[in-house]
Symmetry: C2
Subunit: 233 residues, 2 copies
């Protein structure tokens, strides 16, 4: 099998990254110049430049005006993290999906949520549990900004989750994700059938459509949950 | 500002993904045919085909022989997760980095580790703690396959961590990553100065060079640790 020639700046970026990870170009190695790489890849020098600049921004290459471009001493690895619909994630793990709405109400968010939602605004608060084979799998605690998504106020989330409805309906241009391990609060512990203080894998996400905050959600997973990803392979 | 024309199949993939996330092409939407997209992007039809196929493989598009290509009803989001050198991660969070080796010994791995390292093999076991401003930040519990990396046996990790040495020295082509929340064991709790049972953000990674397992590491983070990433923005 012949490896196809990489195309476009992202293709060249991927090929350079592969060489760095495979240590064909080890840490500290001075890589060929842009002109030589452009000849090798059969593309414009500007295309090579764009690829190398993106890798320099990511801390994988170091560019010096006179000394050329070298591989960073400790190049960072990059993995892709999928952010799936909860229902699909549960089904893909081989379970029967279930859903139960716990609470839906329009209210003023507390201080932390108000900050995430971009200042004081009325918000829709939705709490629900997603089940795998009838056992709680993840607790969804969500705030939806009603200034950005006013029609959420007329929506009922008693059968379709806010997670699915939003992904299906509302555009976004940016999501911030934060992963942590937290001790179960009394309330969360009760829903997930845990002892208070038990370790809970926690995902916090804030979603924007351009500059408008759409939603802030905290997902608390039941014990045994693992999030998998990989680099290369 | 004019958006530059996307180039290469990865560039077209990124542009299609942007349209899906921004809901310019909403869930269920039938997107233009390959010929039209090739004309729009000024590239070969095969390039468009490769981009669309990659997005279909990722569950973002659905391709049907006669009905054309449409956006999946619940397209998945994808974020990039950086896997940094621990020292750099700690320094980038604004702390003074410290390091202390706890144990380094050649031994037969236990059953779980042996499986990760591809069967029975002698391995180098290294335990160390990485400090931020003199406080434990993350506990590194690592097994290095001495069949794949025999020269690790002559290396001392009392000042340079195995994490840095491996990233600096040993090639890899694949890393599996698993993230979870676990209760602190008595041993880990002691090093991280936690109460046993406290929630610990845990990263498990297995690294291969082609088919040869290189290393299996468990990282246990002190309380308050958060892993950040984002989509778009």
């Amino acid at each position: 099998m012949t490896t196809p020639q990489p195309t476009g700046w992202q293709g060249i970026q991927a090929e350079v990254l592969r060489r760095v990870h495979a240590r064909e170009w080890p840490p500290g190695h001075i890589i060929p110049g842009e002109v030589d790489l452009a000849a090798e890849f059969g593309c414009a020098r500007a295309t090579v430049n764009r690829a190398l600049q993106a890798l320099a921004d990511a801390g994988i290459l170091e560019r010096r005006r006179k000394a050329g471009t070298r591989v960073a001493m400790y190049p960072v690895g990059r993995a892709v993290l999928d952010i799936p619909v909860l229902r699909q994630d549960i089904e893909e793990r081989g379970h029967v999906y279930g859903y139960r709405l716990l609470e839906q109400s329009i209210m003023m968010p507390d201080l932390v949520c108000a900050q995430k939602l971009g200042g004081n605004t009325t918000a829709l608060h939705v709490r629900a549990v997603h089940l795998a084979d009838d056992a709680p799998f993840v607790l969804e605690d969500r705030w939806i900004n009603l200034k950005t998504v006013p029609h959420a106020a007329e929506q009922s989330f008693d059968t379709l989750s806010a997670n699915e409805w939003l992904l299906h309906t509302v555009p976004y241009t940016k999501i911030d994700v934060s992963l942590s391990a937290q001790a179960a609060s009394e309330e969360g512990a009760d829903t997930l059938r845990l002892a208070p203080g038990a370790p809970v894998f926690t995902v916090e996400r804030t979603t924007w459509d351009h500059d408008d905050p759409v939603t802030y959600v905290t997902l608390r997973y039941a014990p045994g949950f693992e999030l998998h990803t990989q680099i290369g392979g």
